[in-house]
Symmetry: C2
Subunit: 343 residues, 2 copies
């Protein structure tokens, strides 16, 4: 067991991360702290900027819990270059806190690529994990949720990587979403075993030999249909689906706008339908849920959207706390080891 | 120029293809004929069943234009096996008519895989085409359409195949959709040139060297945003996106249903919003547009959804006619040859 696990949970938050930093990041982190209290909050970033926000908002916060980082990785910086050049950036400093066991978790709404790279390279991977992964949880027609792994942590995956995503995703679904025995589907172009590209075919063989709750091949439509709890695929495919899914609301808005503009009656109709639509679409707006963990790194790493609201940051911190309480990193390590011994 | 091009256009329709065959297939084909007249219609399938429908519907149709096929490939038959075992199926017979230059086009709403395989193996490929491709045309927030190639004709594509999809898709967009200089995007996980899997990176190099109207890498969100007219990707990715897109309406319906069931007021609200929604969603229901061509085979091959309506079949036949009138197969052959000489 990690040294820090015997101590009180410590969560570091990137105060400089996100389009509305430092305000949203700090306020969200403090709201989470005020709700839970039973953890130590560390704010990482430019000390003067952090203190300015704390003063403006009349918040008392222990100065020793502010860890100064003189640089900021911008949203448009190239991740690998930024990591090398900005050694004193909040993302590098935050990930290093976890590496040095000065924190259990690091939470950031900053540059996603830099956060993934820093977490992987600085915190390191959980023993036995080939590639860390990031999932996207989408609503389904059944009313439950389906989480797709990987949605962009890596591309050109090997079958073993997809298998690891399933193991890690299963633990996360069980511990965090409370799904007792999460079902797993392998994303493919058809249900039949003969279908698919080389990667899918080879991955299928791995799954068939395992005792994971594997439901077989699933198709693109099965994600929103809610056929399974977890869908695994290469990060190239997953990332494209995620961004495609994110763009659906934009299309619907445009369609409704055009319809409204076509006649006065239609304008009235759309006006009346708007509230209903909004209510219906709100759980498709997954941004409110907060960030997502990078699973497979040796520490808790939560990555949020650049546009994260205070609520999103708060939820990210609370999620980090929950992952700590449930000892998720250790559980992933144990499970990966367990499957290594079997396969 | 092909022998048949000097003659009147002949379009063969699979009377046995689709969930509502032979009725929808026959009625749709005859409606198209009644609208255009300037082509010869051939119905392929079980002669007695075809004649029964014609009699029931009081339609006069020249018996010599019914080409008998004693077998039917079912919607669930395995394509390659079915092609071997059912040599006298309507799909094999129809594709053979094109091969033997007894027809210019073959239209079917039957087993998609069998139709793709029969078209490719029997009609053969246009010289220079490595792999035929099938596209899916989706509505965009801009009000125009974006066609994604390939959506499932093949997987594990090579860069050259994606390049061919772009050439063929450009001709189709220009000739059929009337887009003078269609823009092409390469589907990727980011816009930067360094992004992507090995296939995307190698394909990017091919595009950069060409004089196609290439807009660079595009992301999953760019499809529905309408950033480009054509998006190219491997058929594994495209097929998953297409099926994902098809499932969106199901999710929306389920969400509205749940919302309506949550209270009486909500039920009234959804009741009022329904008509608006339907009107707005209707152009997302691409089924009404009819089938899609398998581009790259040496003849016109139009493949429709199993659930094709009479209107969809009619549109498929009219599309085949338009492709003939615009000499599309020859134009693809010329363009592929042109690029072969350059690359």
């Amino acid at each position: 067991m990690n040294e820090v696990n015997t101590h009180k949970c410590k969560i570091a938050v990137d105060a400089m991360g996100g389009d509305y930093a430092p305000l949203n990041a700090i306020m969200g982190a403090i709201e989470a702290f005020n709700e839970k209290k039973d953890f130590e909050l560390i704010l990482v970033g430019k000390k003067d900027e952090i203190k300015k926000v704390l003063t403006e908002k009349n918040l008392s916060f222990p100065e020793e819990n502010i860890v100064h980082a003189s640089e900021v990785i911008g949203m448009k910086d190239t991740p690998t270059t930024a990591l090398k050049q900005k050694k004193d950036s909040s993302i590098v400093v935050g990930a290093t806190l976890v590496k040095e066991k000065k924190a259990h978790a690091f939470v950031s709404a900053g540059n996603t690529g830099a956060m993934m790279a820093a977490s992987t390279l600085i915190m390191g991977r959980i023993p036995g994990v080939g590639r860390p992964t990031i999932g996207a949880t989408l609503p389904t027609a059944k009313g439950n949720f389906c989480t797709v792994y990987d949605v962009g942590a890596s591309v050109d995956s090997k079958p073993q990587h997809l298998f690891e995503y399933a193991i890690m995703g299963s633990i996360y679904a069980k511990e965090i979403f409370g799904i007792e025995n999460p079902s797993i589907g392998l994303l493919n172009v058809g249900e039949e075993e003969s279908k698919g590209n080389k990667l899918a075919q080879a991955t299928l063989e791995l799954f068939k030999k395992s005792d994971l709750n594997f439901a077989g091949n699933v198709e693109g439509r099965d994600i929103l249909a809610g056929t399974v709890d977890i869908v695994v695929c290469d990060g190239f495919v997953g990332n494209i689906i995620l961004k495609f899914a994110e763009s659906i609301i934009g299309l619907l808005k445009a369609k409704f706008k055009n319809y409204a503009e076509s006649s006065f009656i239609n304008k009235l109709k759309v006006g009346m339908a708007k509230g209903t639509l909004k209510a219906v679409l709100q759980d498709m707006d997954y941004q409110k849920y907060g960030g997502v963990p990078l699973l497979g790194v040796n520490g808790i790493s939560i990555i949020g959207h650049g546009s994260s609201s205070t609520l999103a940051i708060k939820n990210m911190v609370l999620r980090a706390k929950e992952m700590f309480d449930k000892n998720l990193i250790q559980k992933i390590e144990d499970s990966i080891k367990n499957y290594e011994n079997k396969v």
